[in-house]
Symmetry: C2
Subunit: 422 residues, 2 copies
């Protein structure tokens, strides 16, 4: 593909969800309406549930696919696993920790936050251990990647602290901006529930809440004294439905979002066709490319250190003197949509690029990332940031980007050097 045809392509969506999706996924969206009890659909729904165990790396887990947004996953945790009055510990690395806490409180939980010392950082393991010693918590929640800050946290290390200090506490991971893009092995790490949404690194359109619960979490649910405190989010209602789909039997509680489930099924098929480790390596390689490039330009990441930075997205402060609104508009005018800030304390000071799903894992879409960086460079130059001399910095960063050796992606010299002329 030449630079010219690349630039003639449709608009590119490079925000931290919704993301670009594959042709196979779009085809499912465009198909004729299907009954929610059609045998083919029941089979696809069942297969999707089964494939989720591979993606979440949770061999005996109970998967849920329910019409709704990622937020609904918080309601599921709060309404099914925490009984009114019980305590919840929130490891808070941004806006989404605040909100998960608010969701838990809505259903009667007594919530304590362990907050990162500053935006872009994470609480220390000592802080977490100390909090766990102070009180008996029913659940501890972790935002794997906080979409508002791009901060990544070490889930296995946190889970180890819980196992050591408070082994009965359930470990809950908000994986909305991570599952399918970041390394997460629920079984190995000892995670009890991971919740996510369809429109991020799972590579489908928005509209599905996707949750995986360990057998330990399901056992806690089954032994609760009070009834679940939500109707639509009740596992008492949904568990038999999910089990029926897996048994390839018709069932009904509420009508599923059929085309979205079919789209998710198509994306999951593409995901599980390759090792999960490859998938996370692709995301890491593209993330490295983006971060290496913008830091080479002298921009500063919101996460305070590369080890705290997500691989599914990049959150970057605007350099001094650059108007964020103008910069986003410049990219949008040329066909690439990136996102502004979301964390209320710094919302106008930074921008976010999403690079997950096919934009990280598929050949052509590596060029999407490259196109995004090229337009970003142009936008910065338009405002007088980056002088001619820095051009070579970009090229060097791009040339040095690490890409996994596996087959489906062309060699870095091919994929990453094909920089469109603007």
């Amino acid at each position: 593909m030449t630079a010219t045809t690349l630039l003639n392509r449709k608009r590119v969506l490079m925000i931290p969800g919704p993301v670009e999706v594959s042709t196979a996924v779009l085809e499912q969206m465009a198909g004729p309406p299907t009954s929610h009890v059609d045998p083919n659909f029941i089979n696809e729904f069942g297969e999707a549930l089964e494939m989720l165990r591979t993606v979440f790396q949770c061999k005996d887990g109970q998967p849920f696919i329910i019409a709704g947004s990622g937020t609904l996953g918080w309601d599921m945790v709060a309404a099914n696993l925490v009984e009114p009055g019980e305590a919840a510990l929130v490891i808070n690395t941004g806006l989404f920790g605040d909100r998960f806490g608010e969701a838990l409180e809505t259903y009667g939980a007594s919530v304590t936050h362990v907050r990162a010392p500053a935006i872009g950082s994470v609480p220390t393991m000592d802080q977490v251990a100390a909090a766990l010693r102070e009180r008996t918590y029913k659940v501890m929640t972790i935002t794997h990647v906080d979409t508002s800050t791009g901060v990544l946290i070490d889930v296995p290390a946190l889970a180890r602290v819980v196992r050591t200090v408070s082994p009965n506490t359930l470990v809950i991971v908000d994986g909305v901006c991570s599952v399918g893009g970041e390394e997460l092995d629920m079984d190995a790490a000892g995670v009890d529930v991971t919740l996510t949404a369809s429109q991020k690194a799972l590579g489908a359109p928005p509209g599905l809440s996707v949750v995986m619960a360990s057998q330990r979490a399901m056992s806690t649910f089954k032994h609760r004294v009070t009834k679940p405190t939500s109707y639509y989010a009740s596992w008492a209602k949904w568990t038999p439905i999910m089990q029926a789909y897996e048994a390839r039997k018709p069932s009904y509680f509420a009508t599923p979002a059929v085309p979205l489930v079919k789209a998710l099924h198509a994306s999951l098929k593409q995901i599980v066709a390759r090792p999960m480790a490859d998938r996370t390596a692709y995301h890491a390689a593209v993330s490295d490319l983006v971060k290496r490039t913008v830091t080479a330009w002298g921009l500063r990441l919101v996460p305070q250190g590369l080890d705290l930075a997500a691989h599914t997205m990049t959150a970057v402060y605007y350099p001094e003197g650059v108007s964020g609104a103008k910069m986003l508009a410049s990219l949008a005018a040329k066909g690439v949509t990136i996102a502004g800030g979301l964390h209320p304390q710094i919302a106008t000071q930074y921008f976010r690029i999403g690079h997950m799903g096919i934009t990280a894992t598929h050949d052509e879409e590596l060029r999407y990332v490259h196109r995004t960086l090229a337009l970003l460079e142009t936008a910065l130059r338009e405002q007088g940031y980056l002088q001619d001399a820095t051009d070579s910095v970009t090229d060097a960063a791009v040339g040095a980007a690490r890409v996994p050796a596996s087959a489906p992606v062309p060699a870095p010299s091919m994929a990453l050097r094909m920089r469109p002329k603007l």
Copy 2:
């Protein structure tokens, strides 16, 4: 279109939701991913909210479009309008009355049911008035069309009883199987909340909960003493978001199901392009055709009388000696999907045909209904029901079907007599 090309068409979905959708709707599903804060999308979301006021006939209402199924609407009513311990009266005409009651109880309501004396019937106005006199109810819920029984209830008459006996009680309508197909003028009838879903007579795919609340309902919500008892279904969270979309401003609480909202927008544009009265007349005409035909064959409707029968769907008992499973399989094998029974007490004894959205309102889709009836006749004959002599009964019923005089649908002699040869 000839009978032959008709029979060559894709499978036809004639269940009471999900329904066949228009090409314009499918095109929106197939479009490239769009940001939830894209200015074009914000505008479409805003327009969709505005058009809902026309469809629900609620001039000052507060509309909500939220990722989820119709069931989520029950949670919204229960978690936002009824405070724990308050009383709710459920006018119960089938499975969905039972379940709405269960949803209300989940959020702490004290629920009383006024039950229809038998499956297929409705409670009398005297029964309802007596119940309203016994206790002060915060809300009274009505299932406009019970999808499990096909029973239609007189919403304006019930609302009048409430206004007379207990004017402070909010009138809540579950319009999942009615909005866009049955006559419902919220303002004229004095209905406070109507909830529905995208995949029925609104003519879009499944995955959206669609709710309209009167200003009286919103005022009740604003003056509640306790906080809403759901997070994902909280109007405190969603009202500012819906108002922002209407003001064409970006906002965020949870990521909307972008393609579904675009699809709903496309369907609503087609709906409001014509008077709502025409739309309900088309649904009534197609419904009459189906009911006239099956009763002419000697089959018995589940609703006990035509005045109690929905116009969006038809629920029919299998005649004696006919295997339901075989009958449904016969239609499915020939490309038409209809639904089995859903009400647990009679599930195996009846079937359901959905005829809403484009299958009721668009030219070609009237032929879908006709094709469905023709295949149904074949299926009955395959099992020895309907002898040769009854053929003329079908023709007579079809010929006599009443269709509204408005332009877009061809004259009945054209549209309804074009019976495919099997």
